[in-house]
Subunit: 255 residues, 2 copies
């Protein structure tokens, strides 16, 4: 489990179309949250001016444009925004990822499979892989090309960590703060499960913005998160200790 | 073959990152060209302000953002830009297309398969379809959901017209004005072939912008295009005539 400031583990998704409203949310929450996501909706309204303002608040910014075009255009687009955001999302395909200039890759998050797609959607589109297999494959394009990390649903975190270790950022969108009900997103988990499985960051928008007491909610989630992360870290240390103990035991035997 | 103003058949791709440069190009060419494409590169620089300026020049605008996100976000993004562009591109997937509000669909162009992807890229991504099969499948999501049309490579025009008729706009990007050489785009054709096969519009950028005499080039391409379109229309009429003649012949036989 990676060491990450607790106030950067929740990425607050500013999924609104009113720039002033978004600014108010940042002002309200920035004492506890230091990482914000600007998606297509707000970006198309506020443009780079809003992103610049956001960076001036001394927070991290994920610009979630989900670029998906020919390499020349993706790179031209990245050139326009790379200095204003800490992370920028690009749909992860080998042909696109390997063409991204090396000096930008540390800011790129590879989008694997949109959380709204389930197995049927992939089959329908001619894909013979399960969502999980496809996520692993596309994550590889991002990770092997030394991008910052990947965006994938909570259902794939365990497999991604198992396969690729901890040397990349694992961002989980579409997070529910409670158990998911029917929604437009097929592959979602709760934040507790996500952190337990090894997520670095979760993206949360509406559940906070529509909450009656958002600051209290953020505080509670951060408390739970802190507890889960500590517990998982302790487990990792115990595993390490057991492994090294086992190692000592074996070496004694063979001495 | 659809009836389209000749000065709207070439869509000039403003694939530059300098707003003033783009404006100069529009001023220079708008006597002959009445349809412009704004892609990610220029949009990220000039934003909606540039798009508004462009609309004020009394030309058609294709906003080529290639949106590809969960339906809620795609629709929120469309809401921000729908009043400023005549056409907006969205990656064509059933789950996304069918959720687009009905009052926006007449502006939506469904992107099928990026011209940079070849058969190997699809196989690599778990897709068992050929590019052509996948283009036809994704075009269907756009056409059956009553979108304005589709963006597909020149290699698939004939099949698309055969399968879906003429009741949708067929836009062909990555057009070369000469025979294609090695490039970053795997599936490209010349404009002559594209119009012969039934394209409504071709998207051309660099070949015009980098030309020594762009206005002369545009004039020549438009002349050739006019000739090809006329010839194809005459062929269609002759086919119709032959068919109706054959029909008459048969009806006489059965009288």
């Amino acid at each position: 489990m990676n060491n990450i400031d607790f106030n950067k583990r929740i990425i607050l998704a500013l999924d609104v179309d009113d720039v002033e409203f978004a600014k108010n949310w940042v002002q309200l929450t920035k004492s506890r949250i230091k990482f914000y996501k600007v998606g297509l909706q707000l970006f198309l309204k506020g443009g780079l001016n809003f992103v610049k303002w956001l960076k001036d608040q001394d927070v991290d910014v994920m610009l979630d444009l989900k670029l998906f075009d020919i390499p020349r255009t993706v790179n031209a687009a990245l050139e326009q925004v790379k200095d204003y955001a800490d992370y920028i999302t690009v749909h992860s395909r080998m042909k696109i990822m390997k063409e991204i200039p090396e000096n930008v890759r540390h800011k790129i998050l590879g989008v694997t499979v949109l959380t709204c797609f389930d197995n049927d959607d992939l089959t329908y589109d001619g894909c013979s892989f399960s969502p999980k297999t496809l996520v692993l494959k596309r994550a590889k394009y991002a990770i092997y090309n030394k991008c910052a990390g990947v965006v994938a649903s909570g259902l794939e975190i365990t497999d991604l960590r198992e396969r690729f270790g901890n040397e990349f950022k694992m961002i989980v969108p579409s997070i529910k703060l409670e158990k998911p009900r029917d929604d437009d997103q097929a592959r979602v988990v709760t934040y507790k499960q996500a952190f337990k499985d090894g997520a670095d960051h979760i993206v949360v928008g509406r559940p906070i913005i529509q909450s009656d007491d958002p600051m209290d909610l953020i505080e509670r989630v951060q408390e739970n998160m802190r507890y889960i992360v500590k517990r998982e870290k302790r487990k990792e240390e115990e595993d390490d200790w057991e492994l090294s103990d086992l190692g000592r035991h074996y070496s004694q035997e063979y001495e």
